[in-house]
């Protein structure tokens, strides 16, 4: 029990079932002084909305988020930010037939075994609608990060086994998805998430390493079956000499300081150190950068200054229209046909969920890192 809170300092607690009165989130630990309104949240909600193209479900949702607390005169106050989304589009009749059936690939059986009974309407707590609350929470985290210059972006890079990072691949995949819909079947895919402009050294060894916490965050999203960083599974097949990322010290000329820094292949510059150049009696800035990024921006569980690259592998949508063999609570073996409106794939809609879980995890790690050096404490709490 008590698994509905995520985060230590920036914490989200979510609630709600697919066909209950409402879903929502309480954010505790959002720093005070962030400009925030529903307008910051709604675009994130809309990104996970179904019915946006022919690959996703036609169910029309109108998920309006309402902020109930924690914002005053347009700014966060430091107190909990509660947000809810009312459920409107109930078609409980769609689900009555499968109320006591264990749908293959769904959490029905787990809920039944764990709690003794379950809210069977639309999957109840295990519905994809649960991610609404994650997204509302993540939208706030992402806005805090943006104020620190940190960006989090996720995109579909593979769909039903096809690389979709090219227009040709995307077209191929679109065709395949349509074919699967006709065949009453479904597809999975891969979401790749990128974090840029991360400060270095973020993440807490040894159990709360940044990659470990991100792994939990992303694996907790329904349908994710694998998580990897950088080379990921491929790293197991590389040699050390291939997989190691070297460091390089680079001296920036003074005129470069204020300009937009160029990115190198491995990610943004980071870690600025100044030391005097005796010959010219002039201050030079020196930074460390990686000469490659096989690690995916996290080394020893801490951000290393390069772009964070994480991949989440989604299984195919378990709700398929074709008949399936399974059992019901009474111990009868039955054939079911799942009616309703279901996506052949949820991967596109899942991008914003991956982004949001990533943003929450990153912000939480930044907050946890704040007191890690005596000098930071002295900066925040100066002696008069």
């Amino acid at each position: 029990m008590a698994g509905n809170t995520f985060g230590k300092l920036f914490r989200i607690t979510t609630f709600g079932e697919s066909h209950g009165p409402a879903l929502g989130v309480v954010i505790d630990g959002c720093p005070a002084g962030l400009a925030l309104s529903e307008k910051d949240i709604q675009p994130y909600m809309d990104r996970r909305k179904p019915g946006q193209n022919q690959k996703t479900t036609q169910r029309k949702e109108d998920d309006r988020v309402e902020i109930l607390s924690g914002v005053f005169e347009g700014k966060t106050t430091g107190t909990p930010i509660a947000m809810i989304v009312r459920n409107k589009d109930h078609h409980s009749q769609d689900y009555s037939e499968i109320a006591h059936v264990f749908r293959p690939g769904h959490a029905d059986y787990g809920f039944y075994e764990k709690y003794g009974f379950r809210d069977y309407r639309g999957g109840g707590r295990s519905s994809g609608r649960e991610t609404l609350a994650r997204v509302a929470g993540g939208a706030v985290a992402a806005k805090v990060l943006s104020e620190l210059g940190i960006t989090v972006d996720a995109e579909v890079t593979e769909l039903c086994g096809i690389d979709v990072t090219t227009p040709e691949g995307q077209a191929l995949a679109d065709d395949r998805i349509l074919a699967l819909r006709n065949e009453q079947d479904s597809a999975g895919g891969v979401v790749t998430c990128f974090v840029n402009n991360m400060p270095t050294g973020i993440g807490e060894p040894v159990f709360d390493k940044l990659d470990a916490r991100l792994a939990q965050a992303v694996m907790s999203i329904g349908a994710v079956k694998a998580v990897e960083f950088g080379e990921g599974t491929r790293a197991a097949r590389l040699r050390g000499s291939e997989n190691n990322d070297g460091f390089e010290a680079v001296v920036l000329e003074p005129e470069e300081f204020d300009e937009d820094e160029e990115e190198n292949e491995a990610g943004d510059f980071h870690s600025h150190e100044f030391h005097e150049n005796d010959d010219e009696d002039e201050l030079q800035e020196e930074v460390f950068q990686l000469t490659s990024n096989h690690a995916g921006g996290i080394l020893g569980g801490m951000s290393d200054g390069a772009e964070i690259v994480m991949r989440a592998y989604f299984k195919p949508t378990p709700s398929i229209a074709r008949p399936q063999q399974t059992a019901n609570e009474n111990g009868d073996n039955v054939t079911i046909t799942i009616a309703g409106r279901h996506d052949p794939t949820v991967v596109e809609r899942a991008c914003v969920v991956v982004e949001c879980m990533t943003a929450i995890t990153i912000l939480d790690a930044l907050l946890e890192n704040m007191g890690v050096q005596m000098d930071n404490l002295k900066a925040i709490y100066p002696i008069d």
Copy 2:
């Protein structure tokens, strides 16, 4: 900060650096009444000991664990169990040359950036020796699980890209590892972990799903770059009709009840329900089982009764003897040669670490699940 505790109810807190006085663990939340002595722990310590074959480092370690608290008259008392292992084999001189260098693929840079300085002796806190403490803690968790009939086993299934589940593959991989040693290089691999006889419904939706917590647990092990369950990354390429696991209700004849239950392909039987057979006026036992196990034993974040199958992908050992380009703390670009004794691969030694982190996570989830139904509370706290 404060990332050195794992678990909620069965919690391990670990400490210690590679070349400090000692490493250790404090276990809080171990149930009272478990028979326990150092003899239960030492075999686990020995399994992660280097120098056991030519593939691993020749450094001779003699890691004797000492229990400092929490055990009385051979049984756990319910109070914290502290265990330490003294460090003996210090060769600090081996490391003096690289004290201020950021070794490629190591946590040196992260520690330096995060804390401002670091214990550079043997990797300090980021040394592989850190896993000693995890193993001591996991050995206790595994013993508790074994009393409940639950087993956790991990094995190397792939080494330097070669499937080693057959003698031929193993022989091939052995040759490759020797070659890599000669080439002053290293290899990664895959550890597969199996959990059997799991009760169903274990794991806490939505953020503390069993797979999410396992992902954190295993990703927190140094060198792990990917974690997957069941079909894992392959699930993203399957159709829903291929990936879904159906349920099947099976009626056991009375005489079968007390016998060892057969396993089916998908895992052990589970979830016993009795209902009367009117015709024969006889009690029959009915169980649900899965007809396949693509999910890897975890569905909707909860155990589904099938065998749990998890894979951890380890990167190649970053400490390689061949010269590497990198930078040092002074901002010099340097070529380093890592002396010392280093494994071409750590994957074999890592099996016990994966097992132990898994056992800790599973036990923690079992404890957290205990109060999930009113009936359980009434069973433990009967009204007089």
Copy 3:
């Protein structure tokens, strides 16, 4: 930040400001299978409602609680139970004059210093209305406890320094309160809370002792300045021989087993042990009981089977109508007169809040205790 969650396994997360859209609570970790509806909560809400007698504020509130999640077909499902109460009775104009003033005895200054600005309407998050959410959460905890036979009751035992456990004292205190209202002043008092039928051994040494957790729970209620157990402050003035509570073994005759057990002075019977009586070849039940209850039912941080007796000392209401000297955010020293409607005392309304925080803490401790012995694990997870 992140201080709005209480509890480990039965957790409440509260949110909301006095004049924001709504206040509410999310309960995570409520066992599944508890019959629950708004009708179980509303009576608790009504008990903390102001305007019930002349001693309390005349502000009319109509605090209707709505359950948003976690209940299906009249029973808790094991998923989070969210409840909200909409704010209706906004008189923001009452507060405009003191928006930037640090009211004596209020949290205004702390919020201003901590967060940089604050929601000044009606005290914002530090308003007494915040306790609405605690009460909604506690009502659920209390219902779970009642199913286990455990009762939690709080009453006012002292008001403005007068013992009100007798009708004469109550009458005296009523007069005093009216006089204070006329003098534009206020009074504090003492709430005593009793817990009966507690199982023994509940509470987690050494930091999460039952009294330590209760102390946090109750001290976190606004206006509480002291918490004590049993003899409390008086224990510091007693001798060991006066303060120690002895144990007594009592043998119950068989016919007493099924009857309602009598209470002795020190609390209910507890801890049943059976042993054979050789003479009569008959099973006898034996229980331990305390011969006195100076400790207040908690010994060594664990329940000892006697009645738990805890006292919370409330300061006088800081909002008084008479003029007060203080400063505002601009650095001006000002005289303020707090208009609005304010209680001369909140102690009566606070009883239900003390009860609710106690119930939450007790239930959380019961859940945490469930896995404390190997035998409990084996009972919940029997090997097939």
Copy 4:
């Protein structure tokens, strides 16, 4: 279970029994860069050592603390700091007689009921020696605080009911204690703890208020039966107009800025604001201060800049030499005489324990507060 960790960001996990191999603590979350060695810890250990005067036990202990991890080249590294103290002075024979007896006023019964059996040697985990680990942890917290200019001091203010803040009172109490020793009895007392130079706004509403967390911290010390702040229990008997503390804005002349600021009655100055004085075109510093300190330095759960004043009430030592009636595990009613060497009072030795638990709580709250405003995040993570 799992009650042996205290704190969120600065966390101590303690372990050890009175007569086991060792006691100790693991500190997680100590900021890196603090100069630290055993010499910083030992004086704290010595302050809680018995046998220092005739009022305390004659048992000679030699509690040498050893740091096992987390310190390198004389400074904390940010990794866990483990410290142990070996047990040496075992007189297990003293305890054999009472191994299965429930001593009045001790935790014996609770441990027996909770865990099914217990380590009876010297009280096991419930021994006063447990506080050794708290003190080792608190010594580190206190050193961090001292670097921030914050002081924590505790003293005995009442002993066996006598005010000991005057030499006459102290003399009277000394006589009383000797008399109690002769009468084979014991005494309690009151420890008052003062925190000075606290930054304002520290503490997390609503459940982790500073006073709420301190109440848990101090109530978790064995023998504490009441905790209060400022007027404490007396506040319940004051009028609002008597108990409220007003704020005052004070303008400091420029020459005063760099000098040692004078304290006023209510505590140190705090909260500096600068604003321009148009007439003199000169910067003036303005501070807020309280005109009284009835609240004890904590208002609305946050530090208000005045001196924090907290009192802990200790019960008389339960181990008294005179015969006492009680029961044993077999259900026999017995008379016991506790041999061994026991303090007539532990209050003097407890001062350092109160200080240490306070220091840990204060430091933890300071760390938690660091990310409470967006401006703090921007200060620690500046955009390049």
